[in-house]
């Protein structure tokens, strides 16, 4: 992270901003995809995030917090899309375990593993946006509690509590699959 680059971007330097976000787009898209599970929504979330980052960047006082700050904006964008999706989509897509299992198995893994993974994903799909986000940040991105706390603007203890609650929610949701 180059603080000078961020400061230049804060002044409206488009070239600096472009350089700042260039390497982040794909990781952001994958994070959004993991949270949302829908490719078009993931791209929308990242588009919204970059637009917000550009708009709000001049107000960021602590440039060292850019990563946490921009990730928070991404999580918020995902949250909004998920909330909206819940409102707007009235049809539920069911996953054909046999078909999906075949497809995933063709890429590797036993049938049991595939079925378990699908069940786990369906359980994940039932979680609220915050729970999804914290699980993705921790398990997919490998972020520690201190980083997660910075992203959500909460205390480390609270982050620990939320991560625990998200795990429990996932377990409870998975029980419905058994």
């Amino acid at each position: 992270m180059d603080p000078a680059l961020i400061r230049r971007a804060q002044t409206g330097d488009v070239e600096a901003f472009t350089a700042l976000v260039a390497g982040r787009v794909e990781p952001m898209q994958r994070t959004a995809m993991a949270i949302l599970g829908h490719e078009a929504d993931a791209h929308d979330a990242v588009s919204q995030t970059l637009a917000t980052v550009w708009r709000e960047l001049p107000r960021l006082r602590d440039v060292a917090a850019f990563d946490a700050w921009s990730t928070r904006i991404l999580v918020h964008a995902c949250r909004r899309l998920l909330r909206g999706r819940g409102r707007a989509r009235v049809r539920e897509l069911t996953i054909d375990i046999a078909e999906a299992g075949q497809a995933v198995a063709s890429a590797g893994g036993s049938t049991d593993e595939v079925v378990e993974r699908l069940a786990l994903e369906r359980a994940f799909e039932r979680l609220d946006p915050d729970a999804r986000a914290i699980l993705v940040l921790h398990h997919l991105q490998g972020r520690g509690l201190t980083e997660i706390a910075a992203i959500f603007g909460i205390r480390v203890g609270t982050a620990k509590s939320r991560l625990y609650a998200a795990r429990r929610a996932l377990e409870r949701s998975l029980e419905r699959e058994q």
Binding site: E15, S47, Q48, L50, V104, L120, R126, D128, F152, S161
Partner: protein, 505 residues
């Protein structure tokens, strides 16, 4: 399903599932139109967004062209004037790519509804790129007068999370366009009409737009000529190019059906500002261009203007084309060009797409008083601005929330007129309560929108003052109640008005 006891997922299993889930995404260049449209919603920063737009479009390597782009936005495109002498031969004045055109913004259905509402009838007849999913809802057909259009019991509409717009599908128009009826979100071209039906605006669906090779809205002529797949007959494409026309010439004796192209003049779309008129009065076609009907210039050039003797000033715009079978009229040399017809221009709507300001800021008490007539008073999607204090309770683990409800009882978020603390704790107990006058907003609103969300030393969240944009949502009242163990079904109950914070000002 299995009768085996539930096994908690391991960290590795969760990681594997998330990795595979994330891996299903195909990384794409930034969706610039979506980002731009989204950024435009923050009208205060519009100038900043304009500066971002060209760089996002072109990528980092073209950031240096931003200054050029800014000039292009501010200044009109350079065209030869009528007083300029014609060049000695066919001339390429400047490459179109050097000065990006202010391209149209792809709107969401919600944005289009807002734009139409704000512009009265100013948008009627305009072609608009609209992103959403095309679907149909089944309805009953009311008795219709004799002669009325038939009712097939299906209402097509384009929608996304921002709303839905009813569309009128004209078979003749959409014929040949791919993806009609696709449940997936894509870009559609619609023509705004002044039609209204009981459930609001109706637009005419022109068809699904093929996106440019870089995921953008437009093609260049060269890209189309190089890509046979995109030029299949019936395909709709938006082309950023120059519309040029040769002087009128005599027509051979041909059937009227063959005279559409090349008679009494040749009209092309080119990537460069091309003037086919030569000093000796003759004309020559471009080396690469798309062949258009002879009346295309007069019909679609933004500002048709004569140039010297018999010529016209090339006119740049984003033209909506439909690929046509390549049939040439007698005596014209169109074999080297693909043919298309012009369906219209996609002019920028930047002056119209800024979301109308919802309203002046109101107090919570004012909003509650205005909603006293029933829960549906604010359920039309309108947005309100409220100035107040946002607060939440800590997680309330003893309350089992309704599944998938953003208003579950495991957390309570409110906006109030005065600082309010919904959570209290003593050495032996904790309790939560709602305000006497407050808006119940979605769980997580405090964390998402409060400025500097923070807990005090007792774990209570500190109310944060701010100006928030909210909209009403109708939910089941039972969502706020503790749910019985094992309950998985959405709970049923009376309709209740909740609120959703969508933005902090």
């Amino acid at each position: 399903m299995s009768d085996a006891p539930a096994r908690p997922p391991s960290d590795d299993a969760i990681r594997a599932m998330l990795t595979e889930r994330a891996g299903r995404l195909t990384p794409q260049p930034l969706d610039v139109t979506g980002a731009f449209a989204e950024a435009l919603r923050g009208s205060r920063q519009e100038r900043r967004v304009w500066r971002l737009w060209p760089a996002l479009t072109a990528g980092a390597s073209l950031a240096a062209l931003v200054a050029v782009a800014l000039v292009a936005v501010i200044l009109p495109s350079r065209v030869p004037t009528a007083s300029s002498p014609p060049s000695a031969g066919p001339s390429v004045v400047s490459p179109a790519s050097a000065a990006p055109l202010a391209t149209p913004v792809v709107l969401s259905p919600g944005q289009l509804l807002e734009a139409v509402s704000a512009s009265a009838d100013g948008l009627v007849g305009r072609l608009v790129p609209l992103r959403g999913a095309l679907a149909s809802v089944i309805h009953s057909c009311p008795p219709r007068p004799v002669g009325a259009s038939p009712c097939n019991g299906l209402t097509p509409y384009i929608s996304d999370v921002t709303g839905g717009i009813r569309v009128r599908v004209t078979d003749a128009v959409i014929h040949g366009s791919e993806s009609a009826g696709s449940p997936e979100s894509q870009i559609w071209i619609v023509r705004v009409t002044n039609g209204r039906e009981a459930d609001g605006l109706v637009v005419e669906l022109i068809g699904g737009l093929k996106q440019g090779p870089d995921g953008g809205l437009t093609f260049t002529v060269a890209q189309l000529l190089a890509n046979h797949d995109e030029s299949r007959v019936g395909s709709l494409v938006a082309v950023d190019g120059w519309l040029v026309r040769t002087p009128l010439h005599s027509c051979p004796s041909i059937s009227s059906s063959g005279a559409r192209y090349g008679c009494p003049s040749d009209v092309y779309l080119t990537d460069t500002e091309f003037q086919p008129l030569r000093a000796d009065g003759s004309s020559l076609g471009p080396t690469a261009g798309i062949y258009l009907p002879a009346d295309a210039y007069e019909q679609w050039a933004p500002e048709p203007a004569p140039f010297s003797t018999g010529g016209v000033v090339p006119q740049r715009a984003v033209y909506l084309l439909r690929a046509m079978p390549t049939t040439c009229s007698v005596g014209t040399a169109c074999q080297s060009f693909r043919q298309a017809e012009v369906l219209g221009r996609l002019d920028p709507l930047s002056d119209l797409v800024a979301s109308p300001e919802p309203s002046d800021a109101q107090t919570v008490a004012e909003i509650i008083a205005a909603s006293a007539n029933g829960p549906f008073a604010f359920a039309d999607g309108r947005q309100l601005i409220v100035h107040g204090w946002l607060v939440r309770t800590p997680q309330l683990p003893l309350c089992r929330p309704a599944p998938e409800s953003p208003y579950g009882c495991d957390q309570l978020d409110y906006v109030t007129d005065l600082p309010f603390q919904p959570w209290s704790s003593t050495a032996t107990s904790v309790s939560a309560r709602g305000p006497d006058v407050g808006l119940r907003v979605q769980n997580g609103a405090y964390d998402a929108f409060a400025p500097d969300p923070r807990q005090d030393s007792d774990g209570a969240y500190i109310p944060r003052e701010g100006t928030y944009v909210v909209r009403g949502v109708i939910r089941s009242g039972c969502e706020t109640l503790p749910q019985p163990e094992g309950s998985v079904a959405p709970c049923a109950g009376p309709a209740v008005l909740f609120w959703e914070i969508v933005e902090r000002r």
